[in-house]
């Protein structure tokens, strides 16, 4: 002990050595504290600068974009549930009235509605992600494409880049389509390089937005593989993109732009999908094994959504949801909040829908269309003891029958979130768009694609009608088939058919808007409801609340206007909301 001490104190007392040591130490510290010491190293995240380098990282970036579509503000909840109600088919009702979802779904819409702000923000967030992805992957692809000879690996990488770019261009177009459809003129951002000095931006005219959407869609269709070569309907295929583009053209051709020349283009795209031979209607409609006495015949195409069976031939593109572990960020409220009423304590978990089919819509079905009516409108609920009991017509609480949480196995542990996939586009829709496109093209004096005629249109709609009645899809059946020479009668028949076939699938409101009849239809519906004995305000709020401005949503105040007043330059009235 004492020797140690002596040694130490000797060392310390040797003050020259000590002093020199300290000074060297200080100098050492000083000389090393140069700039690179202060570089911020990031450990738990990737930085955008060096991330995109191969096909795998490009794919990660792509799923980062898909991810936003499956987020809560969009297809997992907000955009899915609250933006498409207030039609002649359904009402929105919840406990605790007056919250933003309720106000939005019942046409009490204000600039500061939180869900509008969230959906707007999420679409633009997705667009930023997509812009970055397109820039980085295009650079990678172009570098590779420049090379004169490619290795096998490089050939496969090139294909992968092109596939990814196809998805990326499609997704950007799809998101801009949602924006232009809901808000009309919108800011157009096509690059991730946003200077902090140029954050303010004006709206671009909707025609310009549609033109950009068209560019992206055509590029995507060019790059995308056929549906049969896509792993699952979670990723877009060429045919599905063609179907979506047909939908885009129909919207462009309709209100508010009314560029009728686009009917021709819509027909062309729908026909491309139909004539590809990759798609067909799923004719299987069978009794369910659970739910007696309400185990009516139910189409496989909707059962598959709940059981995660892929059916790309009809369900062409889906937003996919999963429930892994305790994390519900990849799951959706579909089935729980849009579907059938199920008691929380039942073994099928909670089903607490807020979108209910109207009895007047129920009455609109043809008598021979009861199968489709009864699987689309759930006239039953599941009680605490798992008993399936009927719901009275007068309660106005018939759920959306297409999305049945009780068919999921296994159920998620969460009361509100589960795994039913959302069908963005079904082949039935494409067939009906083809019929509509052909009829309208003829009506507006356009050119039909080679090989099509008005007969093609009748055949398309009849396929849908036969399937709904559990008849062979391709066998003509004069008892239910439509026939004629097109025109206004056929237009109405198509519109009705779309209503019956595509109800609860978020297509009715955009359809009514593009046909220019949303406000009058909602007002008529109120009259029908009153005539049917539903006279209270809360039986059908949209009928009281709707105004002409409601064909568009206001640009959100908090998310956009407050930071970007320039967005009102072109329209100080904000779509009529101020």
């Amino acid at each position: 002990m004492s020797t140690i001490f002596k040694n130490i104190s000797f060392w310390v007392k040797d003050s020259l050595k000590f002093k020199v040591g300290i000074v060297i130490l200080m100098l050492g510290l000083v000389s090393t504290s140069c700039e690179d010491l202060l570089e911020e190293e990031v450990y738990s995240s990737f930085t955008a600068d060096d991330f995109y380098k191969d096909a795998e990282s490009a794919k990660l970036g792509l799923f980062g974009v898909y991810d936003i579509l499956a987020s809560d503000p969009l297809y997992a909840r907000g955009y899915l549930l609250y933006f498409h109600t207030g039609t002649d088919q359904e009402r929105y009702w919840r406990q605790n009235r007056g919250l933003d979802d309720d106000l939005l779904a019942n046409y009490q819409i204000m600039e500061n509605n939180d869900w509008i702000g969230k959906a707007w923000s999420s679409f633009y967030k997705g667009i930023y992600r997509d812009n970055l992805l397109i820039e980085r992957v295009t650079a990678l692809r172009d570098n590779l494409a420049k090379k004169s000879s490619l290795t096998t690996q490089e050939v496969s990488d090139l294909a992968s880049y092109n596939n990814t770019l196809g998805d990326a261009h499609f997704l950007r177009a799809f998101m801009y389509f949602q924006l232009v459809k809901n808000w009309g003129d919108v800011p157009l951002r096509l690059t991730s390089n946003i200077s902090l000095e140029a954050l303010k931006i004006e709206r671009s005219p909707k025609e310009e937005v549609y033109a950009q959407i068209e560019v992206d869609m055509l590029k995507a269709i060019d790059l995308l593989p056929a549906a049969s070569n896509v792993e699952s309907p979670a990723r877009i295929s060429k045919g599905a993109a063609q179907g979506i583009l047909a939908r885009i053209y129909l919207n462009w051709a309709g209100s508010p732009i009314n560029d009728v020349a686009k009917f021709e283009k819509a027909t062309e795209q729908a026909w491309a999908a139909v004539s590809s031979g990759n798609f067909e209607l799923n004719g299987t409609i069978e009794q369910l094994t659970v739910g007696a006495p309400f185990n009516h015949p139910f189409p496989d195409v909707f059962k598959n959504l709940a059981t995660n069976v892929f059916d790309y031939k009809e369900s062409m593109w889906e937003i996919h949801f999963s429930y892994v572990g305790e994390n519900y960020t990849d799951a959706s409220t579909l089935g729980a909040w849009h579907g059938v009423t199920q008691h929380t304590s039942s073994s099928f978990k909670r089903g607490a829908p807020r979108r209910y089919s109207l009895p007047t819509f129920y009455d609109s079905f043809d008598d021979d269309d009861e199968v489709r009516r009864d699987y689309s409108i759930a006239q039953f609920e599941i009680k605490r003891d798992d008993e399936f009991v009927s719901v009275k017509r007068s309660s106005l609480k018939w759920g959306a029958g297409k999305f049945r949480r009780y068919l999921i196995n296994p159920l998620s542990p969460n009361n509100n979130y589960d795994v039913i996939n959302w069908p963005v586009i079904r082949y039935a829709d494409v067939l009906l768009m083809l019929a509509e496109g052909i009829n309208e093209t003829i009506e507006h004096g356009g050119m039909l694609p080679a090989g099509t005629s008005i007969e093609t249109a009748y055949d398309a709609i009849n396929q849908v009608r036969r399937r709904a009645r559990m008849l062979p899809i391709y066998a003509a059946d004069s008892s239910i088939d439509l026939a004629g020479s097109g025109g206004a009668t056929f237009r109405q028949e198509i519109r009705d058919e779309r209503g019956w076939e595509l109800c609860s699938e978020n297509l009715r409101r955009p359809d009514l808007i593009r046909w220019g009849i949303l406000v009058e239809t909602v007002k008529q519906t109120r009259a029908h409801m009153t005539a049917a004995g539903y006279t209270k305000d809360y039986d059908y709020f949209p009928g009281i609340n709707i105004e002409d401005k409601h064909v568009l949503l206001p640009i959100p105040f908090g998310a956009e206007i407050s930071q970007n007043p320039d967005v009102l330059n072109t329209d100080p009235s904000n779509n009529g909301y101020r």
């Binding site: 300290i22 919250l99 939180d114 992600r129 991730s192």
Partner: protein, 1047 residues
């Protein structure tokens, strides 16, 4: 490179210190004069320096105060000791000299700690405040900050939560930053720590606490000094024989106030108005609740059931002693306080050892090692009851526990007995989606715990290189391990909502490494020019990491967080390592003192930080200051009145470097997409890049005067300051069309000004003594610049984060030219009455977000356009006080001592969000506060409605209006402590030196017009949305009794 050099050095150095503290050295001299030096109580004073005047010879007294020195008869001896007046004595022919030293009451001679050094108070050129630690530590609080409010001018302490262990917000000279942390930098025994948890120190172990306010004092901390600096020095060993002290107290916490709610009668009456048929069935006749014979149905008082009296217990032992060469201090303590809610509380165990060893004439070494465990347990009232995070924070209205406590149904009517109602985990009749959970069941079924273990090691070597030249090398490590646990059992609110049990453990680990060296040089020229120069280098590195594990759907019964593996649904484990956080700095300070009258100080610091953007890696922070001790001028030295006078001036620039990570780089977050029955990983950009990001700069000037009158019986300090904060980091909102909601930019500019007054007086001397200290601060603030426009809206989002129910969600506004963060909303204009409608029944004024009907709330149409909308909102209140301060009094009479401390704040407004919630949505099946009794009712007579002042139950709008902005001024009797110290002769048989017993009351009385639980509140953020009272854990008053004994 640096690390490689640094770590072996620390190891070697540590070893050296360990060896050195085991050794002792003794110095002795021959004797000719002996004597004893005693203190005012005739106790021997150890460690008194005895010097021969005019020579270098000297000695110090021993443990008992005795000394021996050989000296010639013509010489004079000087006896000096810190805290006592020095005395001189001519030796003459005396061989025994006994001296009694008098306590030096002149505060000017006390030494105060400043950054990288210490200085006598009279030589200060900058403005700082010292806390009377002995006085403050009398408050039986879990953490010293809770007792700091009102103690020092310019320092505003707001403890927003009454929950034991919850932290306070400390603002020094106003909010210096709008969005970033405004909390000061703490320097604990020389170790700078940002985001320091002051509750990890036992306040009885703090020797001194200085608050650096002025630019000259804080500038030495450069980029971290912008919010002011708090220097904490823990107790050191003293020269003298070992002393063992023991202090213990025990007491009771009780809620300081209850909020009135509707009686069962009024509640059922309201239900009758809402739903008569259902109510008749469920509750029966109204008479049942108001029977004159006393057989009424009695209700439940939820507040009484939930907030019970709880205990607080503290025990402290310290051992203290040493010689002139080695000193030590050992402290051990435990503090436990239960929260008002069941299963909640705070517990701290603190151990500290401090050593100081003189190794040789030239070398001193020392170390301070402390280890603390704190444990905060239980449910908050303010957090979302579904939220597993236990870090505090503030939830929105829907899942707030305080709401459930206040608004719980007072009676179950005919359906449920009180016992049943108290047993239900959730009120069975509450509406779906907006449950009233049972707060008692909830506190039993939710596990929430925040456990921290903090180790602080800090050591130094002080080497006298040459005369006047000193090298000090110090360094150390602060290591904090924090474990957050949460579990939601079967009857918890979470399980009921989401349908499964859940458990989660989160472990955070932080290592803060410091290396610091300074070289100091002192030189006096011609006896009038005194120079003191210091240069230094600091290197500090902080690394943080996090690991999280979770699971859900546990079998029943479960083992809670102790067996996450039993979860049937495992959660994804998470982990995180923070990006580099390195600070590398050079600094110097130069003091020049001319004739002890003219004092100058200049400092400069050059800070480099890894957090700064690529274009701004280094920042330079200068300061200059000067002081003139005019009382030492010839024409004033003879003044009978003026005993001390000093004028101070200072200017400096400092920074606030609390820049979050990831601002200067584009980061990709990982995410996933639920593709193909599984999960496909993805990445997405998380931020807009700002390569110019830098510290916030604060430029401050300060003018001060210190005046002592009547032999310093009256001391006045006055300071005026102006602090301009520019390049403020604002999480500037960006238009959503950019793809992001915000980006950090150095863009804001604000100004804080103020006048600070402190008056210390000795009012009575003698057997009954009374001295007091009063301080006032008059702050004001102004916004000088903002983001894009001149207006910045902010949302306190207490109401609900989603979906927003407010007509216009932004309830705060910041306008250039005005103070920042003002409350913003509509002005009340009574109710809609018949004459507000024209002959067709149309209202003259429309409400864009509500219905205009009889009995509905009316608003002032500010812009006169006949429509109430966004344009009719005005500034309703300012959360900042016009003045605040404190008044402390110490009385002594014989063995008794009494301390009375009052604290106040005046002119600040409170946004009583609780009250909005508790008076809105009257149709829902819950209780409300009596304010709604005088409401407009459909079933009233017209005369009754004429007198009604509260809106009808049909009006469901929920916006901020002027009636919810209340005057938050208050005067609080914060601490009263009465003690009795037993005379020495009584206790000498116990071998004790000192024995004191005491009782102390904390938060005893508060005089205020504020209607909520407590006016000292701010639950929704600091800069832009302060002054909101929502869901805060109610404060308790505490009464304790204790004793302290020293052996």
């Amino acid at each position: 490179m640096t690390k490689k050099l640094f770590i072996p050095f620390v190891k070697k150095w540590l070893f050296t210190v360990l060896i050195l503290i085991l050794s002792t050295s003794v110095y002795a001299q021959q004797v000719t004069v002996t004597g004893k030096v005693t203190d005012e109580t005739n106790m021997g004073l150890p460690g008194v320096s005895v010097l021969v005047k005019g020579g270098k010879k000297g000695t110090t007294t021993d443990f008992d105060g005795n000394f021996e020195i050989s000296v010639s008869a013509s010489k004079t001896l000087i006896f000096s000791y810190l805290g006592y007046q020095a005395q001189e004595m001519r030796v003459g022919k005396k061989s025994i000299i006994n001296i009694q030293l008098q306590v030096d009451t002149n505060q000017l001679n006390e030494v105060v700690v400043i950054g990288y050094g210490e200085v006598k108070r009279k030589d200060l050129t900058g403005s700082l405040g010292s806390i009377e630690v002995g006085e403050v530590s009398k408050a039986p609080v879990s953490s010293l900050d809770q007792a700091m409010a009102g103690r020092i001018s310019g320092v505003q302490v707001t403890s927003s939560q009454g929950r034991p262990g919850s932290s306070s917000s400390i603002k020094i000279r106003g909010t210096g930053s709008l969005t970033q942390s405004s909390s000061p930098l703490y320097v604990v025994d020389g170790f700078p720590i940002e985001n320091f948890d002051i509750s990890s120190i036992d306040q009885s172990d703090i020797a001194s606490l200085e608050i650096l306010k002025g630019p000259s004092a804080v500038a030495i901390y450069g980029a971290r000094g912008g919010n002011g600096v708090i220097l904490i020095t823990s107790k050191s060993g003293v020269n003298g024989k070992a002393e063992v002290s023991y202090n213990s107290f025990y007491g009771v916490n009780r809620i300081s106030k209850r909020v009135d709610v509707l009686s069962p009668y009024d509640f059922v009456d309201l239900r009758y108005e809402v739903a008569p048929d259902e109510t008749a069935n469920r509750y029966g006749s109204l008479d049942l609740y108001l029977k004159p014979d006393g057989t009424s149905i009695n209700g439940i008082s939820w507040q009484d059931e939930v907030f019970r009296d709880t205990e607080v217990l503290s025990n402290t032992v310290s051992v203290n002693g040493g010689s002139i060469d080695s000193k030590y201090n050992l402290s051990l303590s435990n503090y436990t306080s239960d929260g008002l809610l069941e299963n909640s509380g705070f517990d701290r165990t603190y151990v500290k050892l401090k050593l100081d060893q003189r190794v040789s004439k030239k070398l001193r070494a020392g170390a301070n090692v402390s280890f603390t465990t704190t444990n905060v347990t239980g449910t908050h009232t303010s957090t979302n009851i579904l939220d597993p995070s236990v870090t505090g924070g503030s939830s929105n209205a829907r899942f707030n526990l305080l709401k459930d406590i206040v608004q719980g149904r007072p009676t179950g009517g005919l359906f449920y007995s009180n016992e049943e109602l108290l047993g239900f985990p959730e009120d069975p009749d509450t509406e779906e989606g907006a449950p009233i959970s049972n707060p008692i069941v909830n506190s039993r079924t939710q596990v929430r715990a925040d456990k921290k273990e903090t180790l602080l090691f800090n050591g130094f070597l002080d080497y006298k290189v040459a005369t006047g030249l000193n090298l000090r090398v110090s360094g150390g490590i602060q290591k904090q391990n924090r474990k957050l646990e949460s579990f939601d059992e079967v009857n918890s609110a979470y399980e009921r909502r989401n349908g499964y049990t859940r458990g989660k453990i989160l472990v955070r680990d932080r290592t803060n490494t410091l290396f610091s060296s300074t070289l100091t040089y002192k030189k006096t020229l011609n006896e009038i020019h005194k120079f003191k120069a210091m240069v230094g280098y600091d290197y500090q590195e902080i690394t943080e990491s996090m690991v999280e594990a979770s699971g859900s759907d546990f079998p029943e019964p479960n083992l809670g967080v102790d067996d996450l593996g039993s979860a049937t649904e495992p959660g994804f484990p998470q982990s995180y390592t923070s990006p580099t956080n390195i600070l590398s700095s050079f600094f110097y300070r130069l003091n020049y003192d001319l004739k002890e009258k003219y004092l100058f100080t200049t400092t400069l610091r050059y800070d480099g930080s890894s957090r700064f953007g690529a274009n701004n890696k280094y920042g330079l922070f200068p300061s200059v200051s000067a002081a003139w001790r005019f009382s030492d001028e010839d024409f004033l030295t003879d003044s009978k009145i003026l005993s001390e006078g000093k004028l101070r001036m200072e200017w400096g620039q400092v920074g606030n470097n609390r820049i979050p990570a990831f601002v200067s780089k584009a980061i990709l977050n990982s995410g996933s997409y639920g593709e193909s029955n599984g999960v496909t990983p993805g990445v997405s950009p998380s931020n807009l890049v700002n390569p110019d990001i830098q510290w916030e700069t604060q430029e401050q000037i300060n003018l001060g005067v210190d005046v002592g009158l009547l032999n310093d019986k009256l001391m006045l300090t006055a300071d005026v300051y102006r602090k301009e904060s520019k390049d403020l980091l604002l999480r500037a909102p960006t238009p959503a069309s950019s793809g992001f909601s915000s980006v950090y930019r150095n863009i804001g500019k604000i100004k804080n000004e103020g006048l600070e007054l402190t008056l210390s007086t000795i009012n009575l001397e003698g057997e009954l003594s009374w001295n007091s200290n009063i301080n006032f601060t008059f702050p004001s603030s102004e916004t000088l610049g903002l983001v894009e426009s001149d207006i910045l809206y902010s949302n306190s989002s207490w109401s609900t984060s989603n979906p927003s129910q407010d007509a216009y969600a932004n309830d705060f506004i910041t306008v250039v030219g005005e103070p920042y963060g003002l409350m913003f909303g509509f002005v009340d204009d009574g109710l809609y009455r018949a004459d507000d409608f024209d002959e067709f029944g149309n209202p003259y004024i429309d409400v864009s977000f509500g219905n205009e009907e009889l009995g509905h709330r009316k608003y002032v149409d500010v812009n006169g356009d006949k429509v109430i909308d966004d344009k009719d909102r005005v500034v309703l209140g300012n959360p900042n006080p016009k003045f605040f301060g404190g008044f402390s009094n110490n009385f002594k009479y014989k063995g008794f001592d009494l301390n009375v401390f009052l604290q106040w704040s005046s002119g600040n407004d409170i946004y009583n969000a609780n009250r909005i919630l508790w008076t809105s949505g009257l149709k829902s099946h819950r209780n409300f506060i009596p304010e709604i009794l005088n409401r407009w009712r459909d079933d009233n007579t017209p005369e009754q409605n004429e007198a009604a002042i509260f809106r009808s139950i049909n009006d469901v709008s929920q916006v901020l209006t002027s009636q919810y902005i209340e005057d938050g001024s208050y005067l609080r009797l914060k601490t009263v402590s009465l003690g009795y110290t037993f005379p020495e002769k009584w206790i000498s048989k116990l071998k004790a030196q000192r024995l004191r017993v005491y009782v102390t009351g904390q938060n005893l009385v508060t005089w205020t017009k504020y209607t909520g639980y407590d006016p000292e509140v701010s639950t929704r953020g600091n800069g832009l949305t302060s002054g909101v009272d929502f869901g805060a854990y109610p404060r308790s008053k505490t009464l304790i009794g204790g004793l302290s004994v020293t052996f």
